[in-house]
């Protein structure tokens, strides 16, 4: 027992060790000649693997643009929702471009670049035969989801489904296909693009509910970079992406329906200049 206590104390001591981060990220990136970005590789069409195994997608295009602007090489690190914030804080990546929802809780942890480059909301993907009509229908039923998504907690607290949460998106979708759950809880943007993809696998599926809890997406940087040179550069780029219509063009390129948020922001920023 004594030994166990000592062990517990030793573990507690490791808690106190906080990673030390260098201050000027921008200078470091230029010195290394590499920009390390955390991206998704299972989130079509924002970041996914093409048949040759390369990571491509809308967010990858944005990441490439940041790297080009800095005149450095782009290195992509695949992240999942559950580990991306930790990776950023530990300095393994310089920024997150991985469908990151901009929430108040997360703002305490990392810096969110404004204006946000995208907005999604929460919905479910379900077989038509399930006959779901309203959110309350999920009560007590098995619903697949993905780890680390911000809406898991909210949905389970309000509608109390029995969430079955998987490490990655394909696992969750496979479980849904295998009838392991009645619906798959996710961003409506991804659901729409999955259904519109024309894959016969999803022919009998639908997005039956009204999207809820609209959520902006943001590029994430470390807190001390937010007001530094690196953060400022990203903010300017984000404004430019909206103003020039680049984001709208990328949506068409990747076959996503034009989202009201982007159209609106584009108008607003154009009018303001």
């Amino acid at each position: 027992m004594k030994r166990l206590t000592a062990l517990a104390l030793a573990l507690a001591a490791t808690l106190a060790a906080v990673p030390v981060l260098a201050q000027d990220t921008l200078a470091k990136i230029k010195e290394k000649g590499v920009l390390t970005v955390g991206v998704k590789n299972d989130y079509k069409p924002w970041g996914f693997l093409d048949p040759s195994g390369k990571i491509v997608g809308l967010e990858i295009d944005l990441a490439q643009e940041v790297a080009d602007k800095l005149g450095v090489k782009l290195e992509m690190i695949p992240v999942i929702a559950a580990n991306r914030i930790e990776f950023l804080r530990q300095g393994r990546i310089d920024l997150i471009l991985a469908t990151l929802g901009d929430t108040a809780d997360r703002r305490k942890q990392i810096g969110m670049i404004e204006p946000n480059y995208y907005a999604g909301a929460t919905n479910v993907l379900a077989p038509k035969s399930a006959g779901l009509k309203k959110w309350e229908d999920l009560k007590g039923r098995k619903v697949c989801a993905v780890q680390g998504a911000y809406y898991n907690r909210r949905v389970s607290q309000i509608y109390s489904p029995e969430l079955v949460v998987f490490p990655s998106v394909p696992d969750g979708l496979n479980a849904l296909q295998g009838n392991n759950c009645v619906a798959f809880l996710f961003d409506d943007t991804l659901i729409v693009s999955t259904l519109a993809g024309g894959d016969p696998k999803w022919a009998n599926y639908e997005m039956p509910l009204t999207s809820e809890d609209p959520q902006l997406w943001a590029v994430g940087v470390r807190l001390d970079d937010l007001d530094g040179a690196f953060g400022k550069l990203l903010k300017d780029m984000s404004v430019e992406w909206h103003k020039s219509g680049k984001l709208l063009a990328l949506e068409s390129k990747w076959g996503i329906k034009q989202s009201p948020y982007l159209i609106e922001t584009n108008k607003k920023l154009k009018g303001g200049s």
Partner: protein
């Protein structure tokens, strides 16, 4: 009282042990602890039963039976448990008939937790077959012959002489395997079974307290394994035969 202490710890030192003051997180963590314990207990018992059955068939006169056991052991011992688990859940689970879920929909016959128990029992059972075999082969041949000459049937011989001795011989190896089984249960996280690792990762992806939860996890598993080892140790002591040293 405890909750207040941990809330202060979070406010003052930024050490966020949310499971001690946030009711939602606590219930998730306790559910995880219960699920892990449940999977462990059922899998341990089932794997022991499989081990005994397997070693009984492996020592029988049926050639077909011996072959089946050999194939089973090779298959489950030589493939990664995570692959077995995914295979059961994603491949086999989809082929089984579904049952009504009480909401007018259909749900699979075996839940994720069910598959986890099945996969881990078979995985650990394969090792147990080999462990028991080692123990049985270490029982002195002379003792078996002596019993046979007294007219023991094969079953009596096993029950009263071979197994009691074999058990004592193979307990250290069995302990090892069962401790391994407890640690293997974390793999159930990959198929969405709400066990400890799953609960912890849910909590840290929302609360951003990875470092704290990792420590809680490590300590929890140390304690879980300590309980198992203590039980096995008590059992070993209870079974000691004074003067018998294999």
């Amino acid at each position: 009282m405890i909750a207040a202490f941990f809330e202060r710890l979070n406010d003052v030192h930024g050490l966020n042990f949310s499971i001690f003051y946030d009711a939602f997180d606590r219930s998730r963590f306790l559910t995880g602890l219960w699920t892990t314990t449940y999977i462990c207990v059922v899998s341990i018992l089932a794997s022991l039963a499989i081990g005994l059955l397997g070693v009984w068939i492996a020592g029988s006169n049926s050639r077909f039976g011996r072959l089946v056991v050999r194939i089973y052991v090779q298959f489950f011992r030589n493939t990664p448990p995570l692959v077995q688990l995914s295979f059961f859940y994603f491949a086999v689970g989809g082929l089984l008939p579904t049952v009504s879920d009480g909401f007018g929909g259909q749900s699979p016959l075996v839940s994720g937790t069910g598959w986890a128990i099945i996969a881990f029992s078979l995985f650990a059972g394969a090792f147990n077959v080999e462990i028991f075999r080692a123990g049985i082969e270490a029982v002195p041949e002379t003792m078996v012959e002596a019993a046979e000459s007294l007219g023991y049937t094969r079953f009596q011989l096993w029950r009263q002489i071979v197994l009691p001795l074999a058990f004592r011989i193979c307990l250290p190896a069995l302990n090892n395997n069962l401790v391994n089984l407890v640690k293997t249960t974390t793999l159930a996280y990959a198929i969405g079974v709400p066990e400890l690792l799953y609960a912890a990762s849910q909590i840290w992806s929302e609360m951003f307290n990875v470092r704290e939860m990792m420590n809680v996890l490590l300590v929890t598993y140390v304690l879980l394994v300590a309980v198992l080892v203590w039980v096995m140790h008590r059992w070993e002591k209870a079974m000691r035969i004074p003067g018998y040293m294999p």
